[in-house]
Amino acid sequence: MLETERLVLRMPKLSDAVPFAALFNDPTAMEFIGGVHPDTSGDPEFPVRQWLKRWEANGVGPLIAERREDGVVVGRAGLHIWDTSTWTPTSYANAGEHAQPELGWALIREHWGNGYATEAARAARDWARSVGVERLISVIAPANTRSQRVAARLGCTPGETVTLFDTGAAVLWEHPQP
């Protein structure tokens, strides 16, 4: 568990499916991160189980950002693993030497505009460094100006443009070396 000034970052739990439904069904918040999710009301915990599977496979994964003041879940920040030969999300084991960790973040829209993404991502980055991640990138769609601003605040610089497996062009923002 990580603490910042206003947030706690912790492991996902199945009950997070409830607050995150507001994110997954929001076309605006999901615009640059894969689109809204299909209806999983028959299995509402599915997305959280996907996160937990990644944790199990990689020993890292997304962390849930909760407001310290009232325990409200505001979003997520953490690590995803890409296969850089195909730019497909995957696991360390499947990607082998093509594995590249990404620091990613997403906020439920009602919590936008408070600096939570920057605060959560910065803490998640410190944690990523502490678990031995060296090169760290954030993969951001060219039109996603909000996330670009977060990346810039984190001291990232835009680098190579790659073609993601599913959603096309994205810019690799390089995090400063520790």
Partner: protein
């Protein structure tokens, strides 16, 4: 990207337009698809562009079926979101709880009869469940399209009911994952 025994399944790219154009220009391939008409190269390029927009909006869409042996695109398979009220193609966000997700396929005639459609559809059914949490898939098939009905049955779909799509009847096959 998804690999099967003989295929690589990946979202289409504009460079695929020539391979796709062959299939889309073939009346025999198009006979039971959409309104049954063939499409020009320019129209195929638009199909590819639109499908990339759908990927962005829905986190799923069409996949090109690339032969691992030759690197050529032999067809397409993948997911189309329908608004079940009126059966028009939609985005998940707009269709809301009226959304039905179709798993469809199309193979260029020179590659018929090799089981490519079934191979792709089985892999995509698995992907839909494992990666997107889908619990129901449909396939909309024109009456008489026996080749596609066979594929639907091979991947575990059964006939559910008849619907009207683009003013003509279609058979809805479906599966519970």
């Amino acid at each position: 990207m998804i690999e099967t025994e003989r295929l690589i399944l990946r979202p289409p790219r504009l460079e695929d337009v020539d391979d796709f154009a062959v299939a889309y220009a073939d009346p025999e391939v198009m006979r039971y698809l959409g309104d049954g008409s063939t499409a020009t190269r320019e129209e195929v390029a638009q199909v590819i562009e639109r499908s990339l927009e759908r990927w962005n909006a829905n986190g799923m869409g069409l996949f090109a079926m690339e032969s691992r042996e030759t690197g050529r695109v032999v067809g397409r398979s993948g997911f189309l979101v329908w608004d079940s009220e009126g059966w028009t193609v939609a985005n998940l966000a707009d269709a809301g709880d009226r959304a039905e997700i179709e798993l469809g396929w199309m193979v260029a005639r020179e590659s018929w009869g090799r089981g490519y459609a079934t191979e792709a559809a089985l892999a995509l059914r698995e992907w839909a469940v494992a990666e997107r949490g889908l619990t129901r898939l449909i396939s909309l098939i024109r009456p008489g399209n026996m080749r596609s009905i066979r594929v639907a049955e091979k991947i575990g779909e059964t006939f559910e009911r008849e619907i009207v799509m683009t003013e003509r009847p279609s058979l809805m096959y479906s599966l519970k994952a």
